[in-house]
């Protein structure tokens, strides 16, 4: 028995020691030992049917597979395999990083989050798309998503559907009190203060303030809406301004006030939406997707909800919305024939026809300007018309290949400010310095 226990001990110990490193090394293996290119350039294009693999995160609307079928019918000779990825954006990111960094060619076309094109582009993992699209074609798209896909003057993805931050409000409560929805931050605070408790509500406002990507989206709307910014187009940090300090001060004041739930600093999308659809809050900052949830079965605020752009800060001029949404990128390592087929697929997916279909059948926000006036789109989604201005003005998050690091600096520093661990001006100073250091290192 003694001997048995000892052997068991040492082998278990060895195993746990190994797993420490193996867990990390697994992701490194592809980087250190790139697999040889396995493209099938040898095969003649006309002879064989081309099969494309298109990957996207779990599609609750079911629209993407249907679009793939429609594309196949129109393009005999090209088959599209759809591949479902993990639902969480971070998990997809890691999966793509592992595949692309090892020059894997199992995926040809991929849905990429709006914050990835600069990173993947700088890593030379995505095919630059400029040569495949004319300026006229690109001008028909919303400007924000195109800007988010452009890095160093090159286009690395094409928007597929978009998303931007909005302010939801309780129409019934505001109408009864005879107030207009807020246009400025002060109005938002005042209305929230006076109407909190009316109509069964407990809170004035809910939003996303957990330490994660959503926090950056929220705080950017305060910074931009107050005339501040993070990066200039030539990649200089301009965070350290009185406008940004004021914006973060306001955001922190709201977060620490009794207008919001105590746990707001742990809230992500679902938490905030649940509080609102349970009828507990007057206002909600969320993405357009919350519309369906607020109007759906089981929502206690069905038919009582309105939407407006996020309010403008005291020193700002225009309301701001942070851009979300997904884009289509092409794996740079696939063969020329496949690339051409992939471009065809992207052209189809971004066509008015496909975009209208996705909007009507999946409630997705189209990425072409004209479709916000399309009768079919508006019949299925009447609220899109009032969102057009929001989408036209929505801005991408700082477009940089080291965006994940910039985002983490902002997440940590802003979270420290809103949880009261440090004053707003200190947070801004730290962000300015840390992001500045990161960019300086990157240039080197």
């Amino acid at each position: 028995m003694k001997k048995g226990l000892k052997t068991a001990t040492s082998s278990l110990l060895a195993l746990s020691l190994m797993s420490t490193l193996v867990a990390c090394s697994r992701s490194e293996a592809p980087a250190s030992a790139p697999a040889p290119k396995t493209n099938d350039q040898g095969q003649p294009a006309a002879q064989k049917e081309i099969t494309l693999t298109w990957s996207f995160g779990k599609d609750a609307t079911g629209v993407s597979p249907k679009l793939a079928k429609m594309f196949e019918e129109k393009n005999p000779g090209i088959k599209v395999n759809v591949m479902e990825m993990p639902q969480k954006s971070d998990a997809q990111h890691n999966d793509y990083v592992t595949k692309l960094s090892s020059k894997d060619t199992s995926i040809d076309v991929m849905n990429i989050d709006i914050i990835w094109p600069p990173e993947f582009g700088a890593s030379q993992w995505l095919e630059p798309l400029d040569s495949y699209f004319t300026k006229d074609e690109l001008d028909k798209f919303l400007p924000g998503p195109i800007a988010g896909n452009t890095y160093n003057g090159k286009l690395y993805g094409l928007p597929y559907y978009t998303d931007a931050g909005l302010l939801y409000y309780r129409k019934d409560i505001l109408e009864e009190a005879g107030v207009q929805p807020p246009k400025t931050f002060d109005e938002l605070m005042n209305i929230a203060k006076t109407l909190k408790g009316k109509g069964g509500t407990e809170f004035g406002v809910v939003y996303q303030a957990n330490q994660y990507e959503g926090l950056v989206c929220n705080v950017l709307e305060y910074i931009w809406g107050n005339g501040g910014d993070v990066l200039t187009p030539d990649n200089k940090v301009v965070l350290d301004s009185p406008n940004t300090v004021e914006a973060i001060k306001n955001f922190a004041a709201l977060t620490q006030s009794d207008l919001v739930p105590k746990g707001i600093t742990t809230y992500i999308e679902d938490d905030a939406r649940t509080v609102f659809t349970e009828g507990k809050s007057v206002f909600l900052r969320h993405w357009p997707s919350a519309w369906a949830a607020a109007q759906g079965e089981g929502s206690k605020v069905k038919g009582k909800v309105g939407i407006v752009p996020m309010p403008v800060g005291p020193s700002g001029k225009n309301p701001a919305a942070t851009l979300g949404g997904w884009n289509l990128g092409i794996n740079v390592n696939i063969s020329k024939e496949k690339k051409e087929a992939a471009v065809k697929l992207i052209k189809f997916l971004t066509s008015d026809e496909a975009q209208t279909f996705a909007s009507v059948n999946g409630g997705r926000i189209p990425i072409k300007k004209a479709l916000f006036k399309n009768a079919d789109v508006l019949k299925a989604n009447p609220h899109f018309e009032s969102m057009y201005d929001v989408f036209m003005n929505a801005k991408p998050r700082p477009v940089s290949p080291i965006y994940p690091q910039i985002s983490d600096v902002m997440q940590i520093q802003v979270h420290k400010a809103i949880t009261g661990a440090q004053p707003a001006d200190q947070a801004v100073k730290n962000m300015q310095k840390e992001i500045g250091d990161l960019l300086a290192k990157y240039k080197k």
Partner: protein, 315 residues
């Protein structure tokens, strides 16, 4: 051999030769039999470890392919020694490890002694104790995250109802309570493992020792201190060793429950390493963090094995 044969009789020489040949064959066979295992270990344990150490001495940023992969020596380690975030995550890791393992030891020991007694329904109780251990970590982390929710969580509801709190608390939302909430979750989840290992240790103590002690007039407390504790010590130390190593590498619970927040107060070493590797695509620095975690784990093992002597034969 030939020269020696003059001294030896022919028969002994032949026998010796046969014996030597047999030994040689046997050891050769041993090598052949062990080879696949060695190869596997080399491939899946040794190579990744050495590769990670090698990578940690290089600059390798996937989002800067033009940098190449220059050798930078101990630059990453030097940079980390001045990195506030690294020291904070190390401190969080040590704090978490110390308190969760301590609580698990105390509770696990108590539970093991309880379920070691014979009573009606012991089988069911033993199985029930194991339930938290059987639930996947991510699932239990999600479950506890919801239980700690400020508005809908059952913990706030209970504490307010029995009058300990007069208002709801955002457990995962403040620096004072978030790390402890995670510790509670980990204790809930892994105390059964501790209890199980200690129970196994208790069960191999022969009952006649206790009988002899009773005959000699030892009290229950004396039996506990003089018999149970020393005899169960090896099992306890083994359990402690595994739990400490596991706790030190904690990732999933924190990742699910707080994502490192609030204000980065719950980020652990493993989380920092994973973020650096997969989010920042900085494989050099990320590898350095992995190697530091590995060295810490080695030191902990060394401490247990050499200082506390987790070795039943040298007790």
């Amino acid at each position: 051999m030939e020269g020696n044969s003059a001294v030896m009789t022919k028969e002994t020489a032949a026998a010796g030769k046969k014996l030597l040949n047999g030994r040689r064959q046997e050891s050769l066979l041993a090598y052949v039999l062990v080879a696949p295992a060695m190869l596997t270990i080399g491939l899946f344990a040794l190579y990744p470890i050495l590769n990670t150490i090698w990578l940690s001495l290089h600059e390798l940023k996937l989002n800067m392919p033009y940098l190449g992969k220059p050798f930078v020596g101990f630059t990453h380690y030097a940079a980390l020694s001045g990195d506030v975030r690294f020291w904070a995550s190390l401190w969080n890791t040590l704090y978490f490890t110390f308190f969760s393992v301590l609580l698990e030891l105390v509770l696990g020991f108590a539970i093991a002694i309880l379920i070691n007694r014979s009573f009606v329904g012991r089988g069911i109780v033993r199985a029930a104790v194991l339930v938290p251990w059987a639930i996947p970590t991510v699932v239990s982390a999600m479950m506890w995250k919801f239980m700690f929710n400020d508005q809908l969580g059952v913990i706030n509801d209970l504490l307010v109802k029995i009058g300990i709190l007069d208002h709801y608390i955002a457990w995962l939302g403040s620096r004072e309570t978030a790390l402890w909430s995670i510790i509670v979750t980990d204790v809930w989840k892994t105390t059964p493992f501790m209890a199980l290992l200690i129970l196994a240790g208790l069960q191999v103590i022969p009952a006649d020792i206790y009988e002899a002690a009773k005959v000699d007039g030892a009290t229950r407390l004396q039996q506990m201190i003089r018999i149970t504790v020393p005899l169960v010590k090896p099992a306890v130390l083994v359990a402690l060793l595994f739990r400490t190593l596991d706790a030190f590498r904690v990732f999933d619970i924190v990742f699910v429950m707080t994502g490192g927040g609030p204000a980065n107060s719950t980020e652990t070493l493993s989380m920092y390493a994973q973020t650096t590797l997969m989010r920042y695509l900085d494989f050099g620095k990320g590898s350095a963090l992995s190697v530091i975690t590995f060295v810490c784990v080695l030191l902990i093992s060394f401490f247990y094995i050499k200082v506390l002597k987790v070795d039943i034969e040298k007790r």
